[in-house]
Subunit: 147 residues, 2 copies
DNA sequence: CCGTATCCATTCCGATACTG
DNA sequence: CAGTATCGGAATGGATACGG
């Protein structure tokens, strides 16, 4: 049987994972946020084979995360740009990056961190806050039916 | 050939995805944050088959996201509890949940949202801020070598 | 340079049956 | 209830060759 289709799941986390829970998708979005738009640039950056990249790009376009536009440089090719929906994944990637930086043993020779472009200072750690501004720990939250 | 092992990648996002980029892992962590600790409860909640659940739990334990403890209820079985490292994924899940709620068409009959437990008010949208407090858009950030 | 098509290996998942 | 063992099918990824 196929992997469960959870696009209709009540939990928004499950729905999100149904769209970008695949391994490559978020890395493509990461590069797109960095400004990458061209097929070959994605390929070089990710080191993924071309057919896989084609497939991933197509599904991301179908899901409305990316949009395909004629290249602005006059070439006959396409550009892949994030939609507003796709740019919404920025926070997800920041969260993933901060977790990786703080919680994962660094076997990497080089570590990268996200900084503010103008001052080159690290971005603040994300915070989960209540409507009244209190910092929330996991145990202080719960999922309920919305609307 | 195997999927690339990116545990040594420079980018912390890639390293994170190498650990929890799989589809089930974050759903297990989601339930664990909700307080689920028992094998059978995970299984009922996720609707995943038992052998898969066994495998996922084991790798999450190996990676230090969960820890296995003797059950406190006197039964002969195990409990699975989040480590500090695992609890760090809370923000990732909040980000995913907020994205799903705001950006994904809701075909679900029931929508769930994360609320503050005491006031039952929705949690604030996450914000990416610079060290000086400015709100940052994706284009105002960049990845650089950390230390 | 930008993709697509084909083929193959691997991984992953689900169903089922089984043990303690 | 809490797992393990085995099997088959599906999805995924990589290599390569090919066409626009």
């Amino acid at each position: 049987m196929r992997r469960k289709n959870l696009s209709g799941a009540a939990c928004p986390i499950a729905r999100s994972l149904d769209v970008i829970g695949d391994w490559w998708s978020l890395l493509i979005v990461r590069d797109a946020l960095k400004g990458t738009t061209r097929f070959g640039d994605f390929q070089k950056s990710l080191g993924v084979s071309k057919n896989i990249l084609t497939r991933r790009l197509r599904t991301l376009v179908e899901q409305g995360v990316l949009e395909q536009l004629p290249a602005t440089d006059g070439s006959a090719y396409q550009e892949y740009r994030l939609t507003e929906k796709g740019r919404g994944l920025f926070k997800v990637l920041v969260a993933l990056g901060q977790w990786g930086l703080e919680s994962l043993a660094d076997t990497a020779p080089v570590r990268m961190a996200l900084v503010d472009r103008t001052h080159r200072q690290p971005v603040r750690a994300l915070e989960v806050r209540a409507a009244d501004g209190r910092l929330l720990e996991p145990g202080q939250t719960m999922m309920v039916r919305a609307s």
